[in-house]
Amino acid sequence: MSDHATHLAPGQVILSRLSGVATSGLTTAILVAVLIVMPVMLGGSWIFTLGLCFANSIGVLAVSLLVRYGGEVSIGHTFFTALGAYSVGVLDTSYGISLWASVPLALLLGVMFGLLFAWPSRNLHGIYLAVTTLALALAVPEMINNFDTLTGGYEGLYVATPFIPGIEMGLQRYYVALFLLVLVCLAVARLRRSRQGMALLLAKTNAAAADAFGTRRVWARLSIMGISGGIGAICGAALAFSGSTVSPGGFTFWQAIFLLVGSVVSFYGLSLTRVLIGGAFVTLVPQLLSASGAWIPVLYGLALLGMILLGHYLPRIREMMSRKSEAA
């Protein structure tokens, strides 16, 4: 890890510090340990909510990854989460196959459809891609409802097959989501230190330089969409298992925007702590405000704006403060 750090350009050093995977190893370990012993202290409904929170964190990570490595914003990641959730749901209810097979399938499908979507949109950037993902998000619910023989239509599917038979289902729903979240975070941390990850970052920051070193922009786009799609599908799989039901209501256009809101709220962070903040925001706000539904979009909107404005003004304020302290 350190031998790579010596080869980094100044910009990438800043990026690695921002992503925080390398520096906050200890805090992450402590956090994971706390989360592992958490079910001992908490009641059933909280365990359930935390499980969903972990699952949503994976989705937030998928969106943030696309922003960080691809420089693109997606408001259509429910497509991938739906893909993952329905692979788990359909394999479970139709064939009785548990997560052992359905999570790898979800990952495979997510990567495949990520590539499939990335190919026709390979030349789109910024807002064009954002609008295209918007159309993708809108197409999801109607696809689900029209394949109702497989997906159960509006009623959805119930996931009941345990991952490891014999252990209480409530605990399984918690630990499987936590395990998948930690696994994905570790994989993303690995990616950051790998040659491929560096190449992707270079393609984002300087496409011409990356081209000169043999990383084509189209390749970079395809691979980051594939990775992000795969992680999105794992999020869906975790959501299906932890939430125990899969229905079109979980994959609406608004859900896709909420994932983006979670990503913005966590400042596009890729570390476990950051994505947990994003995931917690996405999961807990609707739960806490379930009595007054109309406030949810208002609060999400305010949080989104607040974080963006904070990200804009905070460095300026900090600069002003430091200038003042220098003068004093």
């Binding site: 807002i127 909107g301 989104l304 404005l309």
Partner: protein, 299 residues
């Protein structure tokens, strides 16, 4: 014979009504394009804000909030829309000059707030909001033309005509075009970017209100109606190249006709998927919008 019959009785009316809705998509798309052309921001709050103002017209004219006449209600709602556009741009303007993608995400936040406010004030119920227009229908060459069709056509022609007049022949329009072409040079020449941006945002919000008021009579008014309508406007803007006003007009009409044909001949259940396919195909064949190809490229 039956083929020609179906052509005459299905195809032409479908194209006609598609063109009418297409004009409305074009109104929405023109607003999006105006904002994008000068400030490089995609305004995702466009639909929700227009929806909120449509509800405002309903609330003010139905006696829910007040019982004004329809015209007065529209006037108040227009003022409201202008105020909202002013507010939104004022808040995000520091972001606009920094990152277009960040400010685009910020508009999503405003969209969420507008939707929440609509829910808070007017609830999630479906209401009917009609236009005070003469009801008649005449048959022209086997085509049924209603008063609604003619109203939409007239309003669209007048609005779009006025818009193009302003942009082509007034000082403000020239400033708008200059800033869209090269903001830096325009600023060097003494133009105030912000005031022109305000012009674009406010004009766009007015176009949005006009489009929303005209589309609502065909369905009903709910929290999501206008937002959904604006999605077709997004598609229209993308097909037109997102930076071309005539492109948005052509794109709107094209989307209206294509959607109509698709829902009638293929399936009404896959309309969003079809829209996605149209966007992807259009962006691959005409990456800079449909009108760029026709003109050829200048080297």
């Amino acid at each position: 014979m039956s083929f020609w019959d179906s052509l005459l009785y299905d195809l032409f009316p479908l194209i006609w009504s598609g063109m009418i809705t297409g004009c409305l998509y074009a109104l929405g798309a023109l607003g999006l394009v105006m904002i994008f052309k000068c400030s490089k921001v995609v305004n995702f709050s466009h639909g929700n804000v227009a929806g909120l103002t449509a509800f405002l017209v309903y609330g003010l004219s139905s006696g829910m909030l007040m019982s004004l006449s329809w015209g007065a209600a529209v006037l108040v709602a227009l003022l409201g829309a202008i105020a909202i556009a002013f507010l939104i741009y004022s808040i995000i303007s520091p972001l606009v000059f920094e990152s277009d993608l960040t400010s685009t995400i910020a508009t999503l936040g405003f969209g969420l707030i507008a939707q929440g406010v609509t829910l808070l004030i007017f609830g999630a119920d479906i209401v009917a909001l009609d236009l005070p227009i003469p009801r008649f229908a005449v048959s022209v060459l086997g085509l049924l033309v209603t008063g609604y069709d003619l109203t939409v056509l007239a309003v669209a022609v007048v609005t779009i005509g006025a818009l193009f007049m302003v942009i082509d022949h007034t000082k403000l329009g020239i400033a708008f075009r200059a800033i869209s072409e090269n903001p830096f040079a325009a600023e060097v020449c003494g133009l105030n970017l912000r005031s022109v941006h305000y012009f674009a945002w406010i004009t766009a919000s007015i176009l949005g209100v006009v489009g929303a008021l005209l589309i609502v009579p065909t369905t009903f008014l709910s929290v999501t109606t206008v937002a959904t309508f604006m999605l077709q406007a997004f598609a229209a803007a993308v097909i037109g190249g997102f930076a071309s006003l005539p492109g948005a007009l052509v794109g709107g009409i094209l989307v209206g006709v294509l959607m109509n044909l698709f829902t009638f001949y293929v399936s009404p259940e896959y309309s969003s998927t079809f829209l996605l396919a149209v966007i992807l195909v259009a962006l691959n064949i005409f990456p800079n919008g449909i009108l760029q190809r026709v003109g050829g490229s200048r080297v």
